[in-house]
């Protein structure tokens, strides 16, 4: 009951005219920044943080949280319309969003993404409101072995469920993980894998450089070849009837949306995990439990609903450890945490006691921001559709320009723009030979976390890999992952071992 009273106070704060205006602007700006390839919620929040010093802390956090939400919605737009993830959190949305757009169902994909985001966001805020403290405690029980087991499961879903060529899927994961190791060794601090002693490799390979290379440049080269350079990208139309149809479609994706919402929220709470692994895992699990797993990757609404509900749920989830423990759950919340310290607030358990107005104002605003983001997103769908109907010879060079600027903006280093071009060309050449590209992007995103959790676990266990089996949570996750990896391998061995049928 006390929580409901506090929440009511929060709503009163959220409905103050100034805060409502901040939410509206925040959602619109976030939507736009999220839709830009190469710019995500981190960029938006980081760039606009200095602007918030002119409003009180509650207004400031409401504004930044609205940008965070808006960007989560917006990331899906470029994933679906252009096939380029607007941010790492929307990588999984491209897997099915892009094929749907190519089939002429861009509007359905966008509506599915928007409503799934809304449901994911709302469920996670409700969970956030009711179960904040116990869930935070549970996430704290996750140590490095559990984290590594989760990573292993994320990779295993790609191997076990992908219908692609298995050695090529493994290859793609391995090369992504090796690229994530470029830069400095995290423990000894020595430079590692600095190719040809080029200094640009010292800061590592940013995942966006690989993602924009593959999904921007590689995808464009591929599409140009398929369309022989002169066909329109896809025939997208939007009428009121199709809009209603899109909403009706939501009912069919409820299972994927629910999986995404709950999984995303919980993964979001885990420190240093955040929305990207959350959305990738939600995609994997939704595929696993779906009645039509073979439709995934070919353009199914479930494949859009799961990651989109998950990334919104995770963005709310990641605010939980930030507020209650002072541990950021994602890069964006790390910046929010920095902002709170600048505003003179001390994140941690005392925040809920000392600054109830701040905490509950934020929670109240999350409900409202979610509604704003949904409305803005749906209202702007016709504009996004219009972009799709431009002639491809006009759209392709614009996307190339966006890729070049986005690739530069991510790290502000020309070295990365060249690297992006090389990745794009390589991705195009390899894709023609059926090498799957998504696992490489997943690997480079999770690689650093996977390495540190693996090494920490091995240090804890003095080198014994049994640590991944001994602990109850880690053990059960590891076993699931191993089953998913070994099953398709057995199939391969069988093909080699089985004697060839005698020739008649």
């Amino acid at each position: 009951m006390e929580i409901l009273n506090l929440l009511a106070d929060g709503f009163i704060i959220a409905f103050e005219p100034q805060n409502l205006l901040l939410m509206l602007i925040g959602c619109a700006v976030g939507l736009f920044i999220g839709a830009m390839p190469g710019l995500g919620s981190v960029n938006g929040v980081a760039i606009l943080l200095p602007l918030t010093f002119i409003v009180p802390p509650t207004g400031a956090i409401i504004f930044l949280a609205a940008i965070y939400y808006g960007a989560m919605y917006g990331g899906a737009i470029s994933s679906i319309m252009l096939g380029i993830p607007g941010a790492s959190t929307a990588v999984a949305t491209t897997f099915d969003g892009r094929p749907m757009a190519l089939k002429g169902q861009a509007d359905v994909a966008l509506i599915t993404a928007a409503t799934a985001s809304f449901i994911g966001g709302t469920i996670s805020v409700i969970l956030f409101t009711g179960f904040a403290p116990p869930l935070a405690k549970m996430a704290l029980a996750f140590g490095p072995p559990e984290e590594f087991a989760l990573m292993l499961l994320a990779f295993a879903t790609f191997i076990g469920l992908g219908s692609d060529d298995i050695p090529k899927t493994f290859f793609s994961i391995f090369i992504g993980l090796v690229f994530s190791a470029v830069g400095f060794d995290i423990i000894s601090g020595r430079p590692r894998l600095v190719f040809f002693d080029i200094p640009g490799f010292l800061h590592g390979i940013n995942f966006l450089v690989l993602a924009i290379g593959i999904y921007g440049i590689g995808e464009m080269l591929w599409t140009i070849e398929l369309s022989k350079g002169d066909v329109q990208m896809s025939q997208a139309t939007l009428t009121f009837r199709r809009l209603l149809e899109g909403f009706r479609n939501v009912g069919q994706t409820w299972k994927a949306t629910m999986i995404g919402s709950f999984l995303g929220y919980f993964v979001g709470i885990l420190p240093a995990a955040g929305a990207t692994p959350g959305s990738l895992m939600a995609y994997g699990v939704a595929k696993m439990v779906s009645k039509h797993p073979e439709a995934f990757g070919k353009g199914t609404a479930e494949g859009v609903a799961a990651p989109e509900s998950a990334n919104n749920a995770a963005s709310t989830g990641s605010m939980l450890p930030m507020l209650t423990l002072g541990i950021p759950g994602s890069p964006t919340t790390a910046i929010l945490l920095g902002g709170m310290i600048i505003w003179g607030l001390e994140p941690g358990p005392r925040l809920f006691v000392d600054h109830t107005e701040f905490v509950w104002g934020l929670i109240g605003s999350l409900y409202v921001s979610n509604v704003f983001a949904l409305l803005l997103n749906v209202l702007l769908i016709p504009a996004f559709i219009w972009v799709l109907r431009l002639p491809f010879t006009l759209l392709a060079p614009m996307i190339y320009v966006l890729c070049m600027i986005g690739g530069y903006a991510a790290t502000e280093d020309m070295h990365d723009v060249w690297l992006m071009l090389i990745f794009g060309v390589a991705a195009y050449l390899m894709r023609k030979l059926d090498y799957p590209m998504a696992p490489a992007v997943l690997a480079i995103v999770l690689g650093e976390l996977a390495e540190s959790s693996l090494r920490q676990s091995l240090i804890i266990s003095h080198g014994s890999p049994l640590i991944f089996f001994d602990r109850p949570i880690a053990g059960s996750i590891t076993v699931c992952a191993l089953i998913l990896i070994v099953l398709p391998l057995l199939k391969y061995v069988k093909v080699f071992v089985r004697p060839k049928p005698a020739q008649p």
């Binding site: 440049i217 010879t393 059926d434």
Partner: protein, 165 residues
């Protein structure tokens, strides 16, 4: 197609060996007291890449993978031309950024691509090629404060900074 499949796998196998060699610059074994060496993680992953490449080569030789069974060419003459124009114009554009600034390079790239690849009329080409860098300038430099490289054209932008920043 089969030759392309084999060539790519052989190239990637060589690349894996290079990655293993580079990783081995740091210790790849167990260091008592501090866990696995700094090179161990990438070294064993690169070894995994090598094993995958060998599997891909074997499958291609036995004609087990779809590309190795396909009789279609990897890239016909027309596709090759589209690829060279696309990737080549991007490489030239990225090279030009250092000389005539990102905005100048974008202008030249759009003029070339829209007019000679897209065959759009001059009026549309010129409009898009001029408006895109201007909009990008205001969005990135003025709104988001992300400074794009200017190369030798830096002095030309100083008056703009004086006005807008």
């Amino acid at each position: 197609m089969r030759r392309a499949e084999l060539s790519m796998a052989v190239f990637m196998a060589v690349f894996s060996v290079y990655l293993m060699y580079k990783s081995a610059e740091l210790p790849i074994g167990w260091i008592p007291g501090s866990g696995p060496g700094g090179g161990a993680y990438p070294f064993w992953l690169a070894a995994g890449m090598l094993i995958c490449c060998i599997a891909i080569i074997v499958r291609a030789l036995l004609r087990m993978s779809p590309p190795s069974r396909s009789t279609e060419p990897y890239m016909d003459r027309h596709s090759l031309m589209l690829f060279v124009v696309g990737a080549g114009s991007l490489a030239v554009t990225i090279g030009l950024i250092r000389i005539i600034s990102a905005y100048g390079a974008i202008l030249v790239f759009l003029l070339f691509y829209l007019r000679f690849v897209g065959r759009h009329p001059w009026r549309l080409t010129a409009a898009v090629a001029v408006v895109t860098p201007i909009v990008s300038f205001f969005f990135f430099e003025i709104m988001l404060r992300i400074i794009l490289p200017k190369g030798y054209a830096e002095p030309l932008f100083l008056p703009l900074y004086d006005i807008f920043l």
